[in-house]
Symmetry: C2
Subunit: 737 residues, 2 copies
């Protein structure tokens, strides 16, 4: 292959090097002007501004345009616009929109979606992009719910209502005209400089690039960070209120399970005394799957209605897996949806354009008629898979959708659209649903779906439990084929998350497998069932007041949670930019008002727990453990570390293995911790329907005071409306002696 | 913190669930039409098409709009348009452009920039985005030179001349109207299906999303993949031809080195007999750095001209580090460039808009007058750092540049702009330069800069050496603070890359540190120096014929290089999509026509080497090693595995420690390997200036034939033009006995 020398005499090859290879300027004249937006208070403590001409298709629109809960917002503390209006700047540049918000020198930012590796956002850059999360692909912002909503520890929030891939810089990239520019520092001074050189000088801005000709922006007042989150959730329509059975336990079956095997599994749960409310069926219930037919598989489920009726008799309901890509093997659905299909496929199935009402109607009618049929009580919900990513599975960004919306817009909202359709299907049946989804986004607060993924890293999963609450979504650290202590520790953690489940889609692992730990696994699930009144009240707070059920420490107030950055050590191959290691609190959170949860993984025997201000008590014993300090705990395998605040009241029911029916009355055990008086409002309704929207619900107050002799005494204060709760006797247990 | 029950009576909260939350369609009528572009042959075997209205600012423009080498293109085999024109489709969709190219069922794709983890592109998705590469952030397409040019093993190439973040799907995301759609497969069949379910069904397309209102596209004919690369390089203006000293060894000093320390280091190289041509000075030569002043540091370099003159006397020249961000501490440059600065800073320095001719002139004049001064021979070039990424260091995508070009466009081309400015500065002095750069892109072929980064993974680095040749750029696997055998193996590898260097910017490691390996380190560098005629001829092939110096196996032809994909094993936590492991050949390559290089890392003692068709011989001994087979070698530490093809001729000079001057005459040793006759053209010119563009160069042919008695005999055939080479005596060495 000796190359011929073809060009020995090509001596006069010219290197033309033009000085002006392109027109010198793209702006017709000056750069585009800075726009100081006009803010309108659209709900109490919620302001909206419009810069340029935003897309008509938005996140809130895709989520279903729920009406803001204005009464609840009005009941919050009065609030002024929380920022200096002239420090918020928009600009329309070459068809895109830039947004600048101020960032104070000591201000900490949280939110921007369900990330898995960190909570604190300062010094980070994101491209918010619905995708699966994996440790192997950790571009910040690629996640299952990249909600463009951030919260400041100064007590306000900002939401960009754009269904686009948004670039966000939080305190990174200093502006030339900033009044707070850091001084330049010589990294290699002859005489040492006063300031150490930093590879990331702090900027005084949070900046967004919205790839659209305008943007719709909301600012939420506080006064606290929690209040900002509450206003966001209330503005989105309030938080999700699951049916009571949604707070029970879910077990998902292997993909090819038959009706008989499924029913046998439920009976096994009942025999062994393991709680179960939801039985998850994976792809094999479809006549063909990946892509899906959305038709019952006749071999595995020859009599779907009988199967669902049987489940109902066993006090359980099915949750059916699907991904939204419709198989040409379906009898009808594919043909009906084909006119509304995108021009690219997913797993060889069509991708319906569910921004189009016609397509939504076809799908909803089909599911109602052909899948749920006449048994909504035996089929409580769905698991909506693969609406997140990753890029190699989903439609390419070149895909054309018949509505004319961009592939990017559909990618950012497909999970929202699917959730809303499923929600509406059940709403049409006057039944609440609770399920799973793998992709979500802004505006999802009222939609009852737990997000999940395949990452399975314990610490990442716990981080996401908390981060979800900054984003108006629910995250479930689902348990898969773990064994022994790992299974136990994961079950304990998932029972302290919004949705408690074992996902056995490809595993033969059972909860009762471990001789050593099966009883502890059962105890963890039973404890969740016993706490049903507490969980339900916490979700009601989410529904009516916007307060997240899971409350990350950063939302609690009362303490400055240190984000510590070690000084980085320069190394020419390992750390050329002298980056420091960041530590932050992302492994503990409150569930509801009173219980502090500190999950512990099987890989460690002890862990640190930060106790917020006030006295704290061990959940199991009622003993005092500390106040406003960091303690180290070494919990036995049987216990996930749980702590209750002073005066904390925890309502519980006796052990049971499925949720109570609408007319069932249960005895109540009311625990009180510590020495302080306290009160707690127990919410109740039928637990199944939307009748609570018509007033059919009650808040019953449990109050503990010291009597004249100084003895703690409890009393029950019924709802003023006269509406009753569904509890019979009340037993008071004062845990702290 | 017992929450007040504010809303117990808010019974009538409304959930308004609009059926049409947004206008049903964004297209005014039908979807945008498919455009079959018109192709014009703009150079022999090179076709151009324009879809819509592309940006006026392009990659080729930013690289300097070099004139295509049309004579060299005309000398290549005649070629027809290599694709079916009607299978290439463009579409203008909502202000963006989609492009679809066909992908055959058995077609393999390479290119799309300097990636580090793979060579083969099928089944991958990229967002081409100039950035640093790190294993921690491996979104495909984020790399130092994300060149939008791909090569098919069917023998053609495609280039998108757009300075934008381009999304590319290679054989991923099947189109609904494809005639080659894979059949849907049930992943969970009751009766097994014929085909195994795949998480990534193969598509028959390569698709681009160009976020601009049009695109300029080029198709390059073959007939071979190597020919397609050659046409690309020739169309871009031909490959870079370094000065001879650029092919010597570079050693970079710690950041705070003084003039005296620098000169002492050069003398140490001379005393110890280690070759050295370039001495790299890191940030400390600036009066302040990060951001940079572009002024000599008066404490460390009180007399720059004397320092440079002294270097020149020692037969070495300096290479000065900078990043392009200008410090307010500079005397003049900051003020002069401020009117052309972007509205965001990098490390508190301004970011000049070098798309503007005025800014380019200010910078070029300053460097020429204040930095190079009157000593271009003592200051041969620059290292252009941090024009790549990562996002947290560079300007945000919201940045506004005074030319009106987008931050995205500047990000994609800043490395190109800087290279071209430095190239032009030296061209103005009629001296070639050779340096380093951390970010590049399409059109860079004529610019002589080796790309580098901080990743430092041995296998990644070797992959990039080869991948760079698919992209018209040069990659150097630079050695940093390694020791012992690791240093030796890395030095051996870097000496078989375009730019041989030790980067001691923050290391005290010296090449002569190891008692055990110092002699081998020296030998590796001496071998590179002895091969100067071979390296220079190989670069001349790049310059005049477009043939890359480094030739990855996939470009060689003659063999189908297996990309093997193991069948993935389903696992519910580790591998839920049953992905298989991909193996490909990315650890060996040809350098020039005759030498096969198989770098070996310090972590292994043996490795496999694929020998292409024909007989192959050991470089060191001339012994036969095999033909068209895979062998295993266990090289001693002193040897990097090197093999020469049958009939291969390798011209060498005696040991020397710096490049020869323009008028220096050297004796030539010509090695011949194997039994076959052969010929090899040795290129020569003054090694320093651009005078070769005016014909001042020669190609002298070394020919080995068997004489009448069957004995191998060599002869020298001078250049027909009468131009002489700079070699005195010729000694023939027949290596294979």
């Amino acid at each position: 292959m000796t190359t011929l020398r073809l060009l020995k005499t090509a001596a006069c090859a010219l290197f033309l090097s033009a000085l002006q290879p392109f027109s010198p300027s793209a702006f017709s004249s000056a750069p585009p002007p800075k726009i100081t937006p006009t803010w309108t208070e659209v709900a109490p403590g919620v302001w909206k501004a419009v810069i340029g001409t935003p897309d008509d298709y938005t996140l809130l629109g895709a989520a279903g345009n729920f009406a803001p809960l204005k009464d609840a917002l009005a009941a919050m503390p009065a609030a002024k616009f929380p920022l200096h209006r002239d420090e918020i700047i928009g600009r329309l540049v070459n068809g895109k929109t830039t947004l600048r918000f101020p960032l104070g020198n000591r201000e900490d930012i949280y939110g921007l979606g369900v990330e898995f590796s960190s909570v604190h956002r300062n010094g980070q850059i994101f491209q918010l992009h619905v995708d699966h999360y994996s440790q192997k692909q950790n571009i910040s912002g690629r996640t299952h719910a990249p909600v463009p909503f951030y919260i400041s520890d100064k007590g306000y929030g900002v939401f960009i209502n754009a269904a686009r891939y948004l670039n966000v810089n939080v305190g990174v990239s200093v502006r030339l005209d900033s009044k707070n520019k850091p001084e330049p520092v010589d990294r290699n001074p002859v005489v040492p400089e006063k300031t150490k050189w930093s590879s990331m000088p702090r900027s005084d801005s949070i900046e967004f690039l919205v790839p659209a000709a305008g943007a719709e922006v909301y600012v939420f007042a506080g006064p606290t960070p929690m209040d900002a989150v509450r206003r966001y959730n209330l503005f989105c329509g309030g938080g999700a209120l699951p049916p009571k059975w949604g707070l029970g336990f879910m077990s998902r079956m292997p993909a090819k399970t038959t009706a008989d095997e499924a029913l046998a599994e439920v009976r096994r749960f009942r025999e062994k005394g393991f709680p179960l409310d939801m039985l998850g069926l994976e792809p094999g219930w479809h006549s063909a799957s990946y892509p899906c037919t959305f038709e019952w598989n006749k071999d595995r489920f020859p009599e779907p209605e009988k199967f669902l009726a049987e489940l109902e008799k066993l006090n359980a309901s099915a949750n059916l897996w699907f991904n939204p890509y419709v198989s040409p093997r379906s009898t009808e659905l594919h043909g009906k949806l084909l006119p509304y299909a995108a021009d690219h496929l997913v797993w060889n199935g069509i991708v319906p354009d569910y921004t189009m009402p016609e397509a939504r109607k076809i799908f909803s009618d089909h599911i109602t008629k052909n899948v749920i049929r006449s048994h909504p009580a035996g089929l409580g919900g769905f698991k909506i898979d693969e609406v997140d990513g990753y890029d190699r599975y989903l439609w390419a960004d070149v895909t054309i959708f018949p509505s004319g919306r961009d592939a990017e817009q559909l990618r950012q909202t497909y999970g929202l659209l699917m959730q809303k359709m499923v929600y509406d299907i059940y709403r049409g049946l006057n039944r609440r649903t609770f399920g799973q989804v793998r992709g979500s986004n802004g505006g999802a607060s009222p939609l009852g779906f737990g997000i999940y993924n395949d990452n399975y890293n314990y610490n990442d999963y716990i981080t996401a439990v908390g981060n979800a609450s900054f984003a108006g979504v629910l995250w479930s650290p689902e348990v898969r084929g773990s064994k022994g202590l790992d299974q136990l520790r994961r079950i304990q953690a998932v029972c302290w998350s919004p949705l408690a489940l074992l996902n056995g889609w490809n595993s033969t692992a059972k909860l009762w497998d471990s001789e050593q730990y099966a009883a502890d696994v059962r105890d963890a699930i039973v404890l969740r069932m016993r706490l049903l009144p507490y969980w339900y009240a916490s979700f009601a707070q989410y529904r009516y007041e916007g307060t997240p059920v899971i409350r990350p420490m950063q939302l609690l107030g009362g303490m400055k949670l240190a984000v510590t950055t070690e000084t980085g050590k320069l190394d020419d191959t390992e750390n050329p930019y002298e980056l420091g290691k960041v530590s932050e609190v992302r492994d503990q959170y409150m569930v509801g008002d009173n219980i502090l949860v500190a999950p512990i993984s099987a890989s460690v025997k002890e862990r640190k727990v930060i106790l917020p201000p006030g006295k704290w008590y061990d959940f199991y014993t009622g003993k005092y453990v500390g106040a406003n300090e960091t303690i180290t705990v070494t919990p036995p395998p049987s216990q996930i570390p749980l702590f209750v605040r002073d005066g904390g009241i925890v309502p519980m029911v006796p052990e049971r293995h499925w949720a109570p029916g609408p007319d069932e009355m249960l005895p109540l055990e009311v625990r009180h911790y510590g020495a302080a008086p306290g009160s707690y409002a127990v919410y109740d309704d039928d637990g199944v329907t939307f009748d609570h929207e018509r007033g059919d619900f009650s808040w019953t107050t449990l109050e503990v005071k010291r009597d004249a002799k100084g003895k703690l005494t409890g009393r029950v204060i019924p709802d003023k409306s006269g509406n009753k709760w569904r509890y019979s006797t009340v037993t008071w247990v004062f845990m702290t002696k």
